[in-house]
Symmetry: C2
Subunit: 677 residues, 2 copies
Amino acid sequence: MGHPVVAVAIVFVSAAIAMAASSQYSHHPLDPLTATEITAIRAAVLASPLVPARPLFFHYVGLDEPDKPDVLSYAYGAADAAATSSQMTLPRRAFVIARAGGQSHEFTVDIAADNASVLSHAVHRGPGFPMFTDEDQIAAMALPYTYPPFVESVRRRGLDVGEVGCGVLSRGWFGAEQPAYGGARVVKMKCVVVDYNATANIYARPVEGVVMVVDLDRMAIIGYRDRAVFTVPKAEGTDYRADKVGPPFTGPAAPPGVVFHVGFDMRAGTVISLASVNDTDAGGLKRRVLYRGFVSEIFVPYMDPEEEWYFHTFTDAGEYGLGALASQLQRGADCPANAVYMDGYYAGSDGKPVKAEDVICLFERYAGDVAWRHTNGIGLGGLFSEVRPDVTLVVRMVVTVGNYDYTLDSEFKTVGSIKIMVSLSGILEMKAINYTHVDQIREDTHGTLITENTIGVYHDHFVTYHLDLDIDGTRNSFIKNNIVPKRNTGVRATGGAPTPRRSYWTVLYEVAETEAEGQVNINSAPADLLFVNPSKKTKIGNEVGYRLIPTGATAMSLLADDDYPERRASYTKKQVWVTPYNKSEKWASGLYAEQSTGDDNLAAWSKRNRSIKDEDIVLWYTVGLHHVPYQEDFPVMPTISGALEVRPSNFFERNPLIRTKPPENSPNCSCSIGGSA
Amino acid sequence: MGHPVVAVAIVFVSAAIAMAASSQYSHHPLDPLTATEITAIRAAVLASPLVPARPLFFHYVGLDEPDKPDVLSYAYGAADAAATSSQMTLPRRAFVIARAGGQSHEFTVDIAADNASVLSHAVHRGPGFPMFTDEDQIAAMALPYTYPPFVESVRRRGLDVGEVGCGVLSRGWFGAEQPAYGGARVVKMKCVVVDYNATANIYARPVEGVVMVVDLDRMAIIGYRDRAVFTVPKAEGTDYRADKVGPPFTGPAAPPGVVFHVGFDMRAGTVISLASVNDTDAGGLKRRVLYRGFVSEIFVPYMDPEEEWYFHTFTDAGEYGLGALASQLQRGADCPANAVYMDGYYAGSDGKPVKAEDVICLFERYAGDVAWRHTNGIGLGGLFSEVRPDVTLVVRMVVTVGNYDYTLDSEFKTVGSIKIMVSLSGILEMKAINYTHVDQIREDTHGTLITENTIGVYHDHFVTYHLDLDIDGTRNSFIKNNIVPKRNTGVRATGGAPTPRRSYWTVLYEVAETEAEGQVNINSAPADLLFVNPSKKTKIGNEVGYRLIPTGATAMSLLADDDYPERRASYTKKQVWVTPYNKSEKWASGLYAEQSTGDDNLAAWSKRNRSIKDEDIVLWYTVGLHHVPYQEDFPVMPTISGALEVRPSNFFERNPLIRTKPPENSPNCSCSIGGSA
């Protein structure tokens, strides 16, 4: 491809690959150590008289990069970097951490071509230990099989020791409150049932209650505890390997399939209705998620109080109309080649229909994302990977309100999520000023000097969505799962010993009873926010729900409550509002938004503080950006985005993508822009 | 395509298109109004005796959707929705807002086949007005040309009235502090130089100082003000049309090209070094952005204080090694077909080289995104769109630390941004418990019952990046552009009248002098955070810089400061830390992270509170998630992501993508997953 980015990058990648395979030393001072170099480093350390103790184990071997100034002059020093690099030769060194004689040793090793020599050595005397080695872990994992108390614990649980595997867990650090074991390199081990015929998901079948303490240097079990017997969860339904979850498969393209209706309104633009997802584990049952979703308002207040600018406090949907201002989408530019297009119709002021051509596009996005994956790791038998590439379905409209271009996407994800995203581009609102250089400026210009005589004026964008979520039915509740810190009181579960852990967090479930409790600043206390259906539970008793996942652009209005524009858009001081469904409450800034006074807006309706518990409720979510212009925004702005995802959370009995088929071959996504070499 | 999602969706889209074009009335109760229906609605309203006043202008015509219960029973009512829909017929109605006789009239119109009748009529008596019509705006825009004071103002500025155009701006609402004009439908108008031969960017050339007041119903200018003359910015350099910015073009694939070095480390995994961007406006000059960037640590504390779980406080990089645990990437699944792959080498405990095959992939992503766009709007002459599709370059590694899989991406964006993203998948850490149903649970189980006998334990993920940004050179400063609310004091610029606006926000520039000032909670007060080079300025005097744009996953640690795991990872209570460059300060949790005590970590180093102003400084950024498991996370977790983008901000003189070529034809991104029908 003629892509300069990749063209250049590939050169480096190829170089690195060549280097890595080469038997010569590196060609770039930051190239990672080659196999040949590592071999030479090993020989040098083992040959060094500084550490005679054996056995000696290598825990870390990495490039000790040259000093930054040298690397910089190598890379950028001369006008012709290439020439420089061919002239300069920088020291090539490695940093090594090895364990021997119960100590951590540090070596600096000089590498010249295929031989190396130790430049310096030090013993680490402080606390802490280097990374575990694979061999540490593999050796430790073999210990329990011959440790009688463990064999007995396994038997107590009706298991055969042959079907159990244990893993090395770092023990952390808990000061004097934990045994010191004379400063030995101690880890803990916990075990799981490993039976790959039954399931690949070893983590789903813990041998709960058993913890071992292992000294890695002595490679011996030095502590053992079997607190109590817990039921080992069944293997059934835990596997994720394609050959175990299917056939039947739900197809290579990922379920849950989504069904929805695409509409058009001259004020709201695109309207998504009756969105439901297929629950393949429930025989393809169509389950409801969203009744109606659309952009209710876009409030754009500018931050210049001067005479010609103070009134720039736009409500784009209510004053200009998003559908009426939808742009004809440019095929292959606004939407990719695989898009399909829809027209819209609205009424002109004479009442006659006006055709809005190609204003909505719909396309599948293959972005190289992964829907889910797992690689089964070291030492536990079976090394294998299961990976499912992702694909999403995008419904797009671009609305151009004068200078600004809003790309409004509704993205349906394979996991059952709906992601609403707004991407801003277009032209800044600019103010002429007599300055040509920042140094001339003495007062607050209420914006950035982005080019001579031109201020890009500070402003906000508040895009407010009306999302009438109906999670598995009409009557829902809004839940705040508050994530709250707790002290460790030492109160223990049956038979449990006290632990040195001093704090943790837990989840406090809170149902929003009324509209006041449904208003949330998502930047304040941490919480998972969910819409749930209190009358629908999963088999094991969790309320079925969808949760909110904000993705950037969480700004709120900074205008004073008594300021007129803020009174009109007072709902922009919380990102989240929840109201009972009311057919007349569609427009956050009121039906008559133009010169509106705030007496008929979302905040005004909510003052009634109606009940929102187990009712037909609506989510209002505002994506907000404070826009400080920069010179890159001139003459036309690069796109910047904000989004909200609503994601199934205890809605399905399990990962709805579990029965998707792995790709038989690569998703073929090698794209090209027409006209590129 | 065999994609069930799209297959279904397309049906609806096609239906809607068919409907929209049809001369029959809709087939789905939520279908938007067709051209035929709009024509019938118009006839009904004009024929209605209820509003004899003329002229009558239509401001809003939209579907008045049937009542929600009826739509729901239509869509989901019976087992076989299709059968139902063919039987049920719901009322088909439109809601209309029209202006006549100086009043806003509301009509409900019943539509039957090709004729319609008015069901109800009301007059809006409250404040506010309906959306502007195109005709409102076009008529208003014609007024100034024959308005002598405006013609004079234009002459004062040395312009010809023929080269000026004016736009309708909503006036907002400012209560009694603004003229009432007897409640008339009043807007303001401001003007720009419109000379499409000189530039398409009309917004860049405001006729500053002139504001008109227009009564839209009388369609007359009723107020006029010319405060002062300001320089009209020059047209040169403001255009964005391809034929005006080039040739030469910088190619269809977007600059700024980026050059960087890809390395590998057994602890950090992928290391990106010496990243610089080509400044095409500076003759392709390579300008530095990032010296070294890598994942320094991943801290994962679990929230169960019980005996077998309290010590689950992992530092994955320092204890297990991200490079050593990098998974072999599955071609076509972990990375798309157009990816290239790199190997890595690390040392086993015996010091011998171990080959990590295909652990890094590099690919171009064409996701259907738009790099920038603008459609030139109504009534200002020339209706045209300029759109540039986007492409990004992704460097990816997947690290599997036991049960968890971290997909670690470095994404190089065409605008010059570097976006670092972590995507989590894999298997939850599960605790066996004797409960099979939520109703049995009485105590805090420290997690979610995700299937029978199985708790998905609450935990956090804190992925801390070491980003040694060198913005256009080594010595940088860290800037907090604090976005602060202000009262409108009424202090006016020269000749300016007082305004009723009561508040706004502005930007207060703050340089972080020392490390303490470099620590930021990004969820607190709003601010743009930048790395700038104080010794490099743009031509007009702005400091060149890059700014931080967090994209989701901004959680911070909730552990108590005196708790041992928190002492080891105390840096996880702020997302942003800035330190002076120190070659030995690579690992946020210290060189010897295993059983570390917090005496050698990022927070400990920063206690020295070194100067970070105009120094070689390093950004440490933590992507954080509180993970409350849900049943969908079992048996394997769908991917969830968090990211940080560092984006050029006054780094370039203008949008670096301005001279990119529009696609000659579509980016060909129609992908398919092998094996799909």
